[in-house]
Amino acid sequence: MEKVVVSIADDRLDRLPEVVAALRAAGLVVDDVLEALGLVTGAVRAGGLAALAAVDGVLDVERQRGVRVLPPEGP
């Protein structure tokens, strides 16, 4: 499974649950629905990103990046 973030188009934000249901049907295991940001986070099987991107109302799909505390640490 790959961790992904999906962004929803502005004109679909008022019907977010429908889009989320469609994302689930397209293979997304939802972690979080971030309503204020119009984003959905979750995981999808390898190679499943294209199916999510094809869902009506989806703007972008990105793989989640690893993010770290920034080095250098200490004086």
Binding site: L34, A36, G38, L39, T41, V67, V69, L70, P72, P75
Partner: protein, 390 residues
């Protein structure tokens, strides 16, 4: 007439005219001083050459030759009703010569306040951050820290299986710089917005790592809680030419529209003077304010990422070398360096501005950039310059 005393003048005069009164002005200049002006819309070169001056229509200004006996008539016209509003002697202007600015090498007295608070002039501001909510998304916070007794602190962990308590230390340091105390039990005051409400979101594990999903969840939490400012001393290095995240850009843009400004560390991947590396993810998004780091002498930190591509600009800088703040372990404070330390300085100043002006979102961004102290360094490294408290 305004007569510059110390400036070199040409002997010609600039006449400010009432807007939309060109024809009347031409007659008036002839009438009051016998000056024949041509218009820049005149196409006949001889007409311009034979005249005593020119009218710039778009500007509503005439540039005229006036002999000493014509000048009194012009000056009278300013005082009398009519289209002539002002007369100034035309100045000679030169290209501005760049001069070296001596670095301020004065050692800073840190007995009362850290050098960072002094550099952003937070110690001189009457704003405190009171009533403003500041979210610090990092490795969590040492909730029981003695320097934060009595403070309003709201926490949430977005790291599965880890409580918000900061076993790393980085988050506690960042909370300290942005919102810590001015009069701790010992040592200098180190917090910029010392009466702000603290929202400490743990989006990085105790090992110092996290992922996009947790950060976005933290941003959502901060917006839902009405935080005016989000401070993110985190990131992932990027290579030159890498596109920014369309999704983070959208999130940041939606956050701005909801009155929440996201401020993020530019990154520490440069090794100056030899190598300058680009602003990292997610600070490279246009709608996220990217922060570089300066030292006590106003020089750029050797590690501070720079503007390498057409997008991914450094927007402002703040103190990020030898920064004293709270820590998760004894003795409770520590000195660190990095754009991680510069970022909460900007977040704190943003909170002071949010309080002082009621500014939110893009207005807050504009005020930070507008009032930043310009530095004699490339804009690609420092953006608008060193942020300054209101």
């Amino acid at each position: 007439m305004s007569q510059p005393t110390s400036t070199e003048t040409t002997g010609r005069y600039l006449v400010l005219l009432e807007s939309g009164s060109t024809a009347a002005s031409v007659r008036e200049l002839d009438h009051v001083a016998g000056i024949q002006v041509a218009s820049t819309t005149d196409t006949v070169a001889e007409q311009i050459a034979s005249s005593d001056g020119l009218i710039f229509h778009e500007l509503g200004i005439a540039l005229v030759d006036a002999t000493p006996d014509q000048l009194p008539g012009l000056n009278r016209a300013v005082d009398e009703p009519g289209p002539v509003l002002a007369v100034e002697a035309e100045r000679v202007v030169h290209a501005i010569t760049a001069t070296d600015q001596d670095a301020d090498v004065t050692a800073v007295d840190e007995s009362a306040f850290t050098w960072g608070l002094q550099a952003v002039r937070a110690n001189l501001s009457t704003a405190t951050g009171k009533g403003i909510r500041v979210a610090v998304l990092d490795t969590g916070f040492t909730v029981a820290h003695a320097d934060f007794v009595g403070r309003t602190v709201t926490t949430s962990s977005f790291i599965p299986g880890e409580a918000v308590d900061d076993a790393h230390g980085h988050g506690t340091h960042c909370v300290g710089v942005s919102c810590g105390p001015r009069k701790p039990a010992s040592g200098p005051g180190y917090g910029v917005a010392y009466e702000a409400e603290i929202f400490a979101g743990k989006v990085l594990s105790n090992a110092g790592s996290g992922s996009d999903g947790g950060i976005l969840a933290g941003i959502e939490w901060a917006i839902a809680n009405g935080c005016a400012v989000i401070s993110m001393s985190l990131g992932a290095a990027t290579r030159p030419g890498t596109a920014y995240s369309a999704i983070f850009e959208q999130a940041a843009s939606r956050a701005l529209a909801k009155g929440t400004l996201i401020i993020a560390a530019a990154g520490n991947e440069s090794r100056r003077p030899g190598s300058v590396n680009p602003v990292g993810h997610p600070a490279n998004c246009p709608s996220i304010m990217a922060v570089g780091a300066t030292d006590v002498q106003g020089a750029l930190g050797f590690f501070s990422c720079g503007t390498v591509d057409a997008v991914g600009a450094v927007d402002v800088v703040a103190p990020g070398v030898d920064v004293y703040s709270s820590w998760n372990a004894a003795p409770g404070t520590k000195r660190l360096q990095g754009t991680s330390m510069a970022t909460p300085h900007v977040a704190g100043v943003a909170a002071l501005m949010a309080e002082r002006y009621g500014a939110r979102g893009f207005e807050l961004w504009a005020r930070l950039a507008q009032t930043a102290r310009r530095l004699p360094l490339p804009s690609t490294d420092v953006g608008a310059g060193l942020v300054q408290a209101p």
